[in-house]
Symmetry: C2
Subunit: 149 residues, 2 copies
């Protein structure tokens, strides 16, 4: 099975499959005589695992740990659970930060006439840091770190 077929079957793009191989997340695929990578159903299964973990917001490095635990039949479920709880924690911190942003913006937007007058509480807040009863934004605490997908 070629990389394109594996990509379609797993939901991971061919580009990303090569990337995962290059970075060591998955081991180098077998090669056909032509040099084309050759994937088995098990490989696709692996890729789907990765894809699902990405969809749950796990970083690639964390997925490496999950893959090890997956392959380790003597693993303790507590180890997996710990990773999951950490991930939930990280997600919730990001959610809170985003909610705080949205809440503040919503307040500002609600105060804004939104007409053709130039006066605008949103701009005023950005300008001065104050506008109506809007709460000041926390500096860097709980900043939303880089997160993809």
């Amino acid at each position: 099975m070629t990389i394109g077929q594996a990509a379609k079957a797993s939901g991971v793009s061919a580009k990303m499959i090569r990337y995962y191989e290059r970075t060591g997340l998955i081991r180098p695929a077998d090669r056909q005589a032509s040099g084309y990578r050759d994937y088995s159903a098990a490989d696709v299964h692996n890729l789907r695992f990765i894809r699902r973990a990405r969809d749950l917001g796990f970083a690639v490095a964390e997925i490496g740990e999950l893959l090890n635990l997956w392959r380790d039949h003597a693993r303790h479920s507590s180890e997996v659970k710990k990773l999951a709880l950490n991930q939930i924690d990280a997600l919730e911190r990001k959610i809170l930060a985003l909610q705080e942003m949205a809440r503040t913006l919503r307040t500002l937007a609600d105060c804004c006439h939104g007409d053709d007058r130039p006066d605008c509480p949103i701009i005023r807040n950005l300008e001065t840091g104050l506008a109506g009863e809007t709460v000041a934004i926390q500096p860097r605490i709980g900043a939303v770190e880089k997160h993809t997908r």
Copy 2:
């Protein structure tokens, strides 16, 4: 005022001030005879504006638009409001995606004994895409795009 002082006063790091200048978000700072960048109180005001907009989750490109509206005294508040509402929308989509991730993980973690047995619903879900009554993860829809801070 040097870049370090402007950084301290605005909350934007010196690195980022240079970056904003390089990418055209702010215009090149005046220079002292030494070659040092020289900032005025108005510049710091500008930087604080940027900083606050970043704290609200605006992308740098969007902040460019905001800055134009800020400087345009004939602006319509409706234009600013539109940007704000778009931003709220984007934030809320990200929040929903993250909540969906967290919810799924929480369900899985709740099903997991978390003891020293190898059996683990979290792994099982990643493996098969199914585990208990867990809802399947939506493919790419509303995927959380890259977002910093």
